[in-house]
């Protein structure tokens, strides 16, 4: 998602000047994406350069509204028609961290999982608290943005639950453990499970 397409979408409603665009942008994302006015004007000038918007005469108050061009409309239509690719998103630091935790000696992987789960759960609680304030679903845009964040956090907790269940069932390969540390009875619990109940020795 870019500010560029957000602004084009807003201008599709009708001509607006910079400050109006900023307010409308923040309203439609429920304040989850704060914009500064500088970003709005920089984006508008790029859009004007690319002939996706055009400036209209200044109002008496000195505000210059912009309107979307046909080329801008075409660009916007393509954006709406194109799915957001997974490769455009940042790398999943958490997945990498867990993968590394699993292969780094002395790391308590279940503690890493639990610490993350508690933190994500807290985030989920806060999003829910914001959602609870909405009694009437009149503001559907805001509601859906909030739902997107809720579902994403929920997915992370589910994945962490899955990681924990996998850790409980996991038996480390005998050969590699034997190579790394000759005394496997001392090595295995230290690495995977500080909790005495969990059996991790090779069966």
């Amino acid at each position: 998602m870019s500010v560029k397409h957000g602004i084009l979408a807003l201008l599709e409603r009708g001509p607006m000047y910079g400050y109006q665009l900023r307010v409308a942008f923040e309203e439609s994302t429920g304040g989850t994406w704060p914009l500064n006015i500088g970003q709005v004007y920089t984006t508008l000038s790029r859009l004007e350069r690319d002939e996706l918007v055009r400036p209209l005469p200044e109002s008496e108050a000195g505000q210059r509204p912009y309107e979307i061009t046909d080329a801008g409309r075409a660009d916007l239509a393509v954006w709406f028609a194109t799915p957001v690719g997974w490769t455009d998103r940042p790398r999943d630091e958490l997945a990498i961290k867990l993968a590394l935790a699993l292969t780094t000696p002395g790391v308590d992987v279940r503690a890493v999982v639990q610490t993350q789960r508690t933190a994500t759960m807290r985030t989920l609680q806060e999003y829910t608290r914001l959602k609870a304030r909405i009694h009437q679903p009149t503001d559907l845009s805001w509601n859906l943005v909030l739902d997107a964040m809720l579902f994403r956090a929920e997915a992370e907790v589910r994945w962490l639950d899955h990681c924990e269940a996998s850790l409980v069932r996991y038996s480390p390969p005998v050969a590699s453990l034997a190579q790394a540390v000759p005394d496997e009875t001392a090595a295995a619990p230290d690495r995977f499970a500080p909790h005495a109940e969990v059996e991790v020795s090779p069966r």
């Binding site: 998602m1 429920g30 304040g31 989850t32 994406w33 704060p34 998103r89 639990q114 789960r117 508690t118 933190a119 994500t120 759960m121 807290r122 985030t123 989920l124 609680q125 806060e126 999003y127 829910t128 608290r129 914001l130 609870a132 997107a148 964040m149 809720l150 579902f151 994403r152 956090a153 929920e154 907790v157 589910r158 639950d161 924990e164 269940a165 909790h195 109940e197």
Partner: protein
Amino acid sequence: MSILELRDVHRVHGRGETAVHALRGVTLTVDAGELVAVMGPSGSGKSTLLNLAGGLDRPSQGEVAVDGTVLGRCSRRALAALRRRRIGYVFQDLNLLASLTAAENISLPLELDGVGLRQARRQAVAALSDVDLDGYATRFPDEMSGGQQQRVAIARALIGERRLVLADEPTGALDSHTGEAVLRLLRSKVDGGAAGVLVTHDARHAAWADRVVFLRDGIIVDTSGPLDQPDELLAAPGGTS
């Protein structure tokens, strides 16, 4: 003021080598106006905890107190009265009586407590309205969908002067919108001064709680409380995408 207190509660099923330690020294306090969610993998002791809190089971060791009354010291009759008046249950098996209408199912605990028939029915009809089931008072359970039956069970659990509401996966098979409506009801009952315990696998449902307690192998391993400043979350870089 604490409504529910579990003090160093243990529960062992069976004896000797085959004994199963469902809970191992759980201490938990839930205050009036507080909703606590309990999460954990299957077999971690969640349902045992809920049964003990509701006086449906007795601890092997430790104490459970509801609204200041230690359940282990109650007579059977006193325990039954406490469960009927003070505790609302929303369990997976809804336990609606098939031979009673929706309104009768809801008003039954009030009637057992001596509330006049007319008043009990009036309260039941109002409770049905709270769960968006206006006009369903005379329907029997088998004339309603699973979601509607679930809402009747919720209305029954929340009616009257319940001080403690216990819910085990209360949104069961409901779609996400109806499930959310159920959680809003539970939340508003708690905001009105009750204490609530919600057992769930679903993190999105647990997030309606003030605190989330993680159980593993019968032990509380962690607790998540809310941030102090929810609005800060929206300004955080992780809050956008």
